[in-house]
Symmetry: C2
Subunit: 474 residues, 2 copies
């Protein structure tokens, strides 16, 4: 495809996306296809001859779109938001157009240096501690996801135990601490790193706040130490996936410091809320105690996937765990020690120019625009929570400080299992309507509906319509 052909087709693709976004409310939010339905419409065999890009766009409309769940739809309240805004799409397009590799500084210096700058900007925007900046001992890096960030943190934590796991492998029993509400990626990190799921300890949570019980954490660590294990990492969560519960980072941090255990803070969803000074309390204790901290601009901060920000208080053990320098990557800049080679900060070797999209977002919206987005979505969620609270047919899970509201229809005459089944039928009916998409979670044996506000496309009228529909469905 020549540059001129790209110019022509590129503008058609831009038009396609603009039209798609402008008309997104005409689609059912959740795809209605059955398993295998999309596949059955696609050719069994690859094309022998090339085709025009119009054929791709035609099949996108006719075959693929019915199989797409529209995450950017204003009625998408499921999971957590996955904001893919205009400036982020354009930043990502520039990354594709440049087509450079940023595995080491020397392979494209701007790719590395812009990443450092925007992550330092984000430290300031979120009120994170200055030692997370790369000009201190720490530093930030863009990961593909909070799962990979957790794995990198876990590898750094293993290295810091002094067992030299990178060289000798796992030779003792290492333990990792989570709560029942910690994201499953932490157990996954333990499996991947050779720690094993059996060595993941589940710390009790406070029945009211659903936050981790620091006292129980300390007991578990003590018991593991007594049995000869190496307590390696604790994960505290700021904004759990289930309900946005917030672990007491400060109390957990004190235990970690006392016991010499790495503290990873997973704020994948909620951390970006700290662009608003009035929400910075969620990060209490992070500055003093976090060894690593992760939050995802690709969820709620207007930047399209993948863009997960990971910071470390001390980057040395991570680099020790991950750095290998084969001859064909040797270069004067790396050997000078004056540059960052982000390949030593992540699982893969290759890397896109991902900072371009975050840079585009930060510049297009500015700090003001980011705060407005967070405040606006939190306000809508709080308004929705008020409606739920005032309705005797519903119960509301407290607290709900951010933009996720968990609630359930009261069925006072039904045993919990039957009430849960009925809640699931309500959920299915709502999602089948095509007007909105909610997901669920389970707390203390009870099925809860989750409504997460977060798309810049979602206006008050969409939340009102959702509430109206939910009330009619129960």
């Amino acid at each position: 495809m020549s540059p001129e052909e790209f110019r022509r087709w590129g503008k058609q693709v831009v038009d396609w996306i603009a039209d798609y976004r402008a008309g997104i409310e005409s689609f059912p939010v959740r795809s209605r296809v059955a398993p295998g339905e999309v596949r059955a419409k696609l050719p069994e065999r690859p094309p022998e001859r090339g085709e025009g890009f119009d054929a791709v766009l035609r099949d996108l409309d006719e075959i693929l779109l019915p199989g797409v769940t529209h995450w950017q739809h204003p009625g998408f309240f499921a999971y957590f938001p996955s904001n893919a805004t205009g400036p982020s799409i354009l930043g990502d397009l520039l990354s594709s157009g440049l087509g450079v590799q940023g595995m080491v500084w020397a392979t494209s210096p701007a790719c590395t240096e812009l990443e450092t700058v925007v992550l330092d900007w984000l430290v300031e925007l979120l009120g994170l501690p200055p030692h997370f900046r790369t000009d201190a001992a720490g530093g930030g890096v863009i990961q593909d996801s909070a799962s990979s960030a957790a794995l990198v943190a876990c590898l750094a934590a293993l290295q810091r135990t002094g067992e030299d796991v990178a060289r000798r492998g796992i030779t003792r029993r290492h333990t990792l601490y989570v709560s029942a509400h910690t994201h499953s990626s932490l157990e996954r990190a333990a499996r991947l790193a050779g720690i094993g799921a059996d060595n993941v300890r589940v710390v009790d949570t406070d029945p009211d706040t659903l936050g981790m019980d620091a006292g129980h954490l300390d007991e578990l660590i003590a018991a593991d130490l007594a049995s000869g294990a190496v307590p390696t990492m604790v994960c505290a969560t700021i904004g759990t996936t289930s309900t946005t519960a917030i672990d007491p980072v400060r109390e957990i941090g004190e235990v970690c410091r006392e016991r010499g255990v790495w503290l990873h803070v997973d704020a994948a969803y909620a951390g970006v809320a700290a662009v608003c000074p009035e929400l910075r309390w969620i990060n209490d204790g992070v500055a003093e105690f976090a060894d690593s901290y992760c939050t995802n601009p690709h969820k709620w901060l207007l930047t399209n996937f993948d863009c997960s920000a990971l910071w470390l208080a001390d980057r040395a053990p991570m680099i020790e765990a991950l750095s290998i320098l084969p001859e064909y990557l040797r270069n004067a800049a790396s050997e000078s020690g004056e540059v960052i080679d982000y390949r030593d900060w992540q699982v893969p070797l290759g890397r896109r120019f991902r900072s371009l999209k975050l840079w585009s977002v930060l510049r297009w919206y500015g700090a003001e625009g980011l705060r407005e987005h967070i405040r606006g979505t939190v306000a809508l969620a709080q308004e929705f929570a008020g409606w739920v609270r005032d309705d005797p047919d519903f119960a509301l899970l407290e607290p709900h400080p951010l933009a996720l509201v968990c609630f359930w229809p009261r069925y006072p005459d039904l045993p919990v299992e039957e009430a849960n089944a009925r809640t699931h039928r309500v959920l299915d009916a709502l999602n089948d309507s095509g007007d909105l998409f909610l997901t669920h979670t389970k707390i203390d044996g009870r099925t809860l509906l989750r409504l997460a506000v977060g798309s810049p496309a979602t206006e008050r009228r969409h939340v009102e319509a959702a509430w109206d529909q939910i009330r009619r469905a129960v």
Copy 2:
């Protein structure tokens, strides 16, 4: 940014990319900035107010471009190619525009089903065995990189040893087998998975072919077994990074089968060459012996990063190693067992609609176009190798069956260390010229220059000019 604003700015970004590509030869291939130079030109602090996208494009031109190494330049002969063609950029743009998550089938069915289809197409296009197809016991998945693919293979291999590493962690000494020419990502996978670098055995290579010595592999496995270790995975490489050497997969596979060890085949660069039937010999033994196989369309097959294809002969141990199902991801489709949830096939949880770019490439070029690209770049490299061979001032590394040529200037009067230093000075002078970019490797203590042809922008005149400049530089 409204859909209409996106339409306007999007077309400007498309124009920017088309102009960049049309004028790419006006840039020095390798960036000339010094460490910190780009960073120093960027503001210390994030913007408080939002700005127009024109400000982003202006700073891209003025601040970032001087710090970019132009991987899509026709004079880029370094590392391996990283093709970012028009249709792949547009497919990726569509992925950004849709902004969907494909972590499980239910979160966007088309995202999963198109991926399955295009990877099945690729099985046919590359002549890979039908048991790699998802409708058999195996299956293909797009990973971000061959490094992550190697890690996934390693985790599956660990699981298949019967030690239930996912649950119990690493409790015995596991060993992994590579050659000195295997990509460093394999040692990295061993570190990440808790096996440890010390348990990576380096198998001898044949001094002529640089391929792994299957007899020595068998000896090492036997010795490890005798010492109580668990031989877990062998990595055979088809097209090493250093010199595109090809390990004897069939002989290695026979050892692996006999010994019950997982065989991973890393064909990251070279595997895609098998779109040409006359090059399918490189995959000899894969059909019979490979437990996992990886090749990167994002290198030489016209698809922009990230798009690394991984296939497994049996997906079960991988899924056993990686699958965790939290409540908020439970859904009827997953529980029916009728669908694929690719989240269980990779390190991260979230995933982009990456198959769109591969689909766009396969349709735009067709099998014919892909073969033409591979044949054209191989022919240019072979022609270049001929010029080197015929020049008494140069020595050529044989064989060079693909599109990488390794060679060195003969300095018959210099000891090898001095000759190497001089070769490095030649390399620096060439790269400083801005006309071309080569990298180097080291074989048997000798520094070799690597010239990798692979960009669709590279024409015969660029290779001729490179040769002319190289001859003048020695």
